[in-house]
Amino acid sequence: MVSEIIRNLAKDLRVEFRSRFAINISLAFAVIATLALSLATGGIPFPPRVQSVLLWLIIFFSAMNGLSHIFVREDDRGTSLFLLVSTTSDAIYLSKLIYNLIFMSVLLAVITPLFVFFLQVNILGIPPFIISVLTGGLSITAVTTILAAMVAKSGGKGPLFTIISFPLLLPVLWLSIFSTAATLESTGPHGYGTQLFLLAFSGFITALSFLLFRFVWLDE
């Protein structure tokens, strides 16, 4: 099992690194959105609540551009049968989840500093800010990985991924916006309630997706 996941992950990283366009598109989108926002405001900082909303909107839409690619590519290139013959469906889910986590961390590592730099965000509590961004990203990835498989099975029809992800992500985004705004606003002691909740939530949703994945990915 572990060796299968490693084999699969190594293969995915190699294939994706050689084509690279999914991550390029997501990053380009994030950079353009951030720059456009910054340009439009002309250097006047937004209130923290608005900054937090904008940050999560940019993260959400950049993620929507890229997170489904790992499954959609297999179906597009007709390689999904080869993948299925070579590894078990459980290993496929876990390796794709890990790949998406790596993808999301790259995305966050680019978006967040850029956003802070260009929109003059004044972070009052830096560690809680980083933790809330990370837990939010983790939840987004955990929820959308199985949805990406569903989209791939339907032929990767463009905006379908955003449509089916949004209702399940809305509460996650809401909590993340809320907690990020709190870390921007106050210097006081921070409780990690929301972040803990999101962490437990992603664990739960990952377990559930792991159980449901075979029904989505295997043909009847």
Partner: protein, 227 residues
């Protein structure tokens, strides 16, 4: 005629009774006055939306857990429940915003209850578009069911947590600090009849949709055997 059909068809009697009771028999409320009568439609509609959502989720779980295919057409049943539920959800949102306009002065204010019903509505929209995108694939039933299960299991956390994190304008039936609805006896009876009537209406519609689906399948089966 089977007992099931007699029960389902009793909606033809109970629904008009509920409507007449709601308008003529139940007393008007103190502040809201006659406008409070919308309660006898809004509350049952909201109840049916949640019921339809849960029913389609449970049917989906059964569909996936049923490995030996002892039951057929459960995914279609879940689909019918969800599409009927979506109509009821839209009606809930409409009656709710009318009530909100009357009692709070605005049609919409992102009250937690409103948020959760909108999330349910979005889930239905997403589910229906997923199913239409999956048309003509073998896995349609299973993928749709997996999505409904995911949605049904994640939603309660937020429905039960979010109204506790934010304050609600809605009377809260779960923890009543001071905002329980105090209902008159006649109001209570009317509400009960209305809930029964709307539940019957929902079951009746889903039943008809199911029967049509079964007919479709048998007709197509015999057609393919002949040719």
């Amino acid at each position: 005629m089977k007992l099931k059909h007699i029960i389902l068809r009793s909606v033809y009697i109970i629904m008009p009774a509920a409507i007449v009771m709601a308008f003529l028999w139940a007393p008007p409320a103190e502040i809201l006055g006659e406008a409070s009568r919308i309660m006898y439609f809004h509350v049952p509609l909201a109840w049916v939306s949640v019921l339809a959502f849960v029913v389609s989720g449970v049917l989906s779980i059964t569909h996936l857990a049923d490995r030996n295919r002892r039951f057929t057409g459960l995914d279609e049943w879940a689909y019918h429940s969800a599409s009927t539920g979506m109509v009821f959800t839209i009606l809930t949102v409409i009656t709710g915003s009318i009530w909100a306009k009357i009692s709070w002065g605005v049609y919409w204010n992102w009250d937690p209850r409103e948020t959760s019903i909108v999330i349910i509505l979005l889930i239905y929209i997403a589910y229906l578009s997923l199913r239409s995108a999956l048309a003509h694939t073998e896995n349609r039933g299973r993928i749709g069911s997996a999505y409904l299960i995911l949605a049904m299991i994640t939603l309660p956390f937020f429905i039960f947590l979010v109204p506790r994190i934010y304050d609600s304008l809605h009377p809260d039936p779960i923890i009543n600090f001071d905002r329980t609805i105090y209902l008159d006896g006649r109001m209570r009876v009317t509400l009960g009849v209305a809930i029964l009537a709307f539940t019957l209406l929902y079951s009746y519609i889903v039943n008809i949709l199911n029967r049509i689906a079964i007919l479709n399948n048998t007709v197509e089966d015999t057609f393919h055997e002949d040719h």
